[in-house]
Amino acid sequence: MTEMLLIPAIPLVAALLCLAVKNSRVREYVTLVGAAMLLSATLNAAAGALDGMTLTAFGGLLYMDALSAYMLSVIAALTLVTVIYSIEYMRHELDTSVINDGAHRHYYVLFNVFVFTMTIVPLSNNLAMMWISIEATTLVSALLVGFYRKKESIEAAWKYIMLCTVGITFALLGTFIMYYASATLSGEGAGVLEWTSLKAAAHGLNPATVRLSFILIMVGYGTKAGLAPVHNWLPDAHSEAPTPISALLSGILLNCAFYGIMRFAVITDIACGHAFVQDIMTVFGLGSVVIASVFILMQTNSKRLLAYSSIEHMGIISLSFGVGGPFGIYASLLHILNHAMGKPLMFFVTGRIRALHGTVETTEVRGLLKSAPLVGALGFVGLMALTGMPPFGMFISEFLMFRGLADAGRWGVIAVFLAASVLVFYGFIRRFGGMFLGAPPKGSGHGHGTYWPASAVLVALGGGLLLLGLYIPGTLDRLITMSVAVTGGGQ
């Protein structure tokens, strides 16, 4: 109970403190400490979940099982990472007087509120509650996307909020219809929209109704999760937001939205049979992978390129979740973690490139391996990881997805996916490889204040990806397996 309530409380308090304090350094440390506490609280709760206990609060409004615990730990861990990098990034912005102190405070307040909203998502058992929190994440992050108040950032934020609000409207409609489906079954009442009770009653739900609701959910949350063909806000928002925020958006926000889809998919799976869910999620997943691959090929702005790669990876996650089975869902969850490590790593790298060269255009930067060895090397690590190369984590999750697809006999899907992955690799190595290799231009790489913990974080992320490529620690393995059990997959 309390340990669960602690999780959202911490960032909320941090936000209020940031609002209060004048000194920018203090703000940073408040946020840092908050993130650290958040992580410890989450892991503590997750440890509980590992022992198979599920927590509830506010009469089942909040609820935590292995899956929520897993998502929360990813969120908390990435939050800490991002805070550490934010410190370096925002200091640089202050020093180069891109922003003033007010904006600095503004940033940290919103940052914490954003984290708060995201922690609510996995905790909410009531599906409408989940919707509210997801919508809340949109509203807060929109302000962060528009942080710079430049033309482009405002445009990006506008598109982001417009598209996501429209999308999420359908998600709410879907939720209503789900409510109706369960209400007609088990009468009115507060418990009607609770995931736990819905899952329990799923067999009896009217398939047609549930199908309609899931279609709406898929479009609604899919928009937010950046699944093609309703992904269009994503490249703009990711490229215009401050780099740490881009990392958060792509690393966990997308997954929060996808988390909503997961919860609904579980119910739909039981109510309408697996085929329907598998087909619709495969369509969205494969579509995202293919479209993203084509866009990656031609992209020269490294942040936009990474944004499209996020679309690709959400596609992979959806694809593998859709195929289901013992491997598919495991792969999907594992891929969420891998992506939450690889994408921030790459975003931070581009952040440092921006600090070094003042641009993120791949065509204008050369020879990073020479001028900034750490950035160059880790950049290559991130590149290989994101393109699903062994010995990095994503290869394992993608391989498990192949296994799932092979079990389902979906050779065509594998073939198409592999073709697309070749394009992705081509685009990545062509663009980023060009940045890292070659001779650095004269007088480039004027050093900027790097914050050593940030460097440590970069190394840690790279190391983590390598580790997950060769060995998945027992606890993690168990947590994921239990989450798979929660979704009812694996039988």
Partner: protein, 220 residues
């Protein structure tokens, strides 16, 4: 005895159809003030419908819901929007991408699609049988309006229409959710509108106009 009256004259259907008509009207309206009026009308109808249902079923918290809707959608949001519009000195919307007749046709098609796909799929009975279909049609038409309109403000209005439709749907499907949830939803929407207002003025500042054709620098 009122219940019979309501049933005889099938008031609920009447009101919801009224909402549909106000939405369809958006296809032809050009002056932004008028758009706002149409929206206000639409919201008032929604509140009225809730009220009627409250009487019809005599569920206490439906009165609250109706009241909240009336205040937020019928009064607060239009007021906010009007202020924004005034501050931005907007009068007419630019010519939409699709002409009036054509867009009316498309809206009709959307309605047909909704009716067909719902009647073969989801089964709902009782007073709300039509309301649901109408509400989903309203949502789609609202989206369609957003697609055709060029000015940011009119897009926001389209979005608000969608939300009215959404509320109609939610209401007809759930007879008002647990109040807490409902308030949360409303709060979110309110925040959304406010933030949209903020961005509207920022757009005005940055781009000199709120003509959305200019918001196309990010592509590829």
């Amino acid at each position: 005895m009122i219940r019979q009256w309501i049933e005889i004259f099938s008031v609920i259907d009447a009101i919801s159809i009224g909402m549909l008509l106000t939405t369809l009207a958006m296809n032809s309206v050009r002056r932004i003030e008028t758009c706002l009026k149409a929206y206000t009308m639409n919201s008032l109808l929604l509140a009225l419908l809730m009220g009627v249902c409250a009487i019809y079923m005599g569920i206490a918290h439906l009165y609250i819901a109706a009241a909240v809707t009336l205040i937020s959608k019928g009064i607060v949001i239009p007021y906010l929007l009007r202020r924004v519009v005034r501050s931005l000195r907007l009068t007419r919307d630019a010519e939409p991408y699709i002409g009036t007749t054509m867009s009316l046709v498309i809206s009709a098609v959307l309605v047909v699609i909704v009716y067909s796909s719902l009647s073969k799929g989801i089964v709902v009975e009782g007073v709300i049988e039509n309301t649901l279909k109408i509400s989903i049609s309203i949502i789609l038409i609202g989206l369609f309006i957003m697609i055709t309109r060029k000015k940011a403000v009119t897009q926001v209005i389209g979005l608000l229409f969608m939300e009215n439709g959404l509320f109609l749907a939610g209401f007809s499907l759930t007879y008002g959710m647990p109040t807490l949830i409902e308030l949360g939803v409303l709060f979110d929407l309110l925040m959304g509108v406010i933030i949209l207002g903020v961005f509207l003025s920022q757009i005005k500042k940055a781009f000199v106009s709120v003509d959305l054709d200019r918001l196309t620098t990010l592509k590829g």
